[in-house]
Symmetry: C2
Subunit: 208 residues, 2 copies
């Protein structure tokens, strides 16, 4: 009997810093879902604890420019003096094989993904539970000046203003609950009709 | 702090008979999700084991016609000599209060709901796992003639042909797994941005 298969999906988690995105991404990767983390290419130098191909693909400025020229990125951004981009080929291959890919990118990257792969994209915006909690998390170190914290808060506010561009909104008031919601979104989106392949053949055999 | 609320949603489960819809609807109602079963009005006489207002709203033919005339149904259908319809008012009230409502209706009812309440609708089509299993389930009684089973199979085939009109497709190859998928769809759809109310105010307070 011919089976129903599915295309993979691209799951984007975006949030201001201080909303618990890193923790929730890690939880999702550790859960038994088979989702893969997208690996970005970057021109930034490798740090001692980083592993080529696990943390990033470390490429030269020339190679990065060449990849851009050949339209090889799903999305890319410049952050300070360095460039970051998501190579399209491994993501497309994973999706075609029914594997899901997780992206930890900001609203600008999400917009670019939307333009390139609307059908495969599932976007989730994480919100911190309260102003007090956001401020607490942004005060990473005791010696941070009020000025530094204010600047971080302004940056968070700017990122947060893009929540209306996302498919789902999850408030991270409890990390277990937020994790369960993200898992439910992943499981539900896997059953979305538009992602399924071979339903027509399956149904033809059902009712032959 | 102002909280994020949400509109309820209308969850439709459709399937051919023999796909386990009744079992899965019951499982969903018994799970701790707070979802309510939609109660239809019908002109058919009450059976001894049925309770007014729990199983159906039993109404006269005249009253039914009047309700139709006043456009009080979300969907309605004639089955043999009787009429069935979903009164809109209790559903709209539940949705506005953030309660979800479950509908056990066929593709024609689903189409009507779509026209009346597209934004609130989440539709799931259940498929049986195989031709053999479908046939086995349609042979409800040992004394059924081949002819009766053939007619049921033709009816199932006709219903199944409408799967492309649904948001989600779930194959009921294992009742626990299918139940878990329906729960995930419900939980995910509850976090859909377009259903949330008060996010703007919440975000304004976050970043004040």
């Amino acid at each position: 009997m011919s089976a129903i298969r599915r295309r993979g999906l691209m799951l984007v988690l975006s949030s201001p810093s201080g909303a618990g995105k890193t923790t929730l991404s890690r939880r999702l990767l550790e859960a038994d879902t088979g989702i893969l983390m997208s690996i970005s290419a970057t021109t930034r130098p490798k740090r001692p604890n980083e592993v080529e191909g696990r943390d990033y693909l470390f490429v030269s400025t020339e190679r990065f420019a060449e990849m851009m020229h050949h339209n090889e990125f799903l999305e890319h951004a410049d952050v300070f003096d360095h460039r970051y981009g998501t190579p399209a080929a491994p993501v497309k291959q994973a999706i075609a094989q029914g594997r899901d890919v997780l992206f930890d990118i900001d609203w600008q990257g999400t917009q670019q993904l939307k333009e390139r792969a609307r059908e495969d994209l599932v976007s989730v915006f994480l919100l911190p539970p309260s102003h007090e909690e956001l401020e607490r998390r942004l005060k990473a170190r005791a010696q941070d000046s009020d000025d530094v914290v204010s600047r971080r808060m302004a940056k968070a506010a700017s990122e947060i203003s893009h929540w209306p561009e996302y498919d789902y909104v999850v408030v991270n008031d409890d990390v277990d609950r937020a994790h369960a919601k993200i898992l439910a979104i992943l499981e539900a989106e896997r059953a979305r009709r538009t992602r399924l392949v071979g339903v027509g053949e399956f149904v033809a055999q059902l009712t032959r």
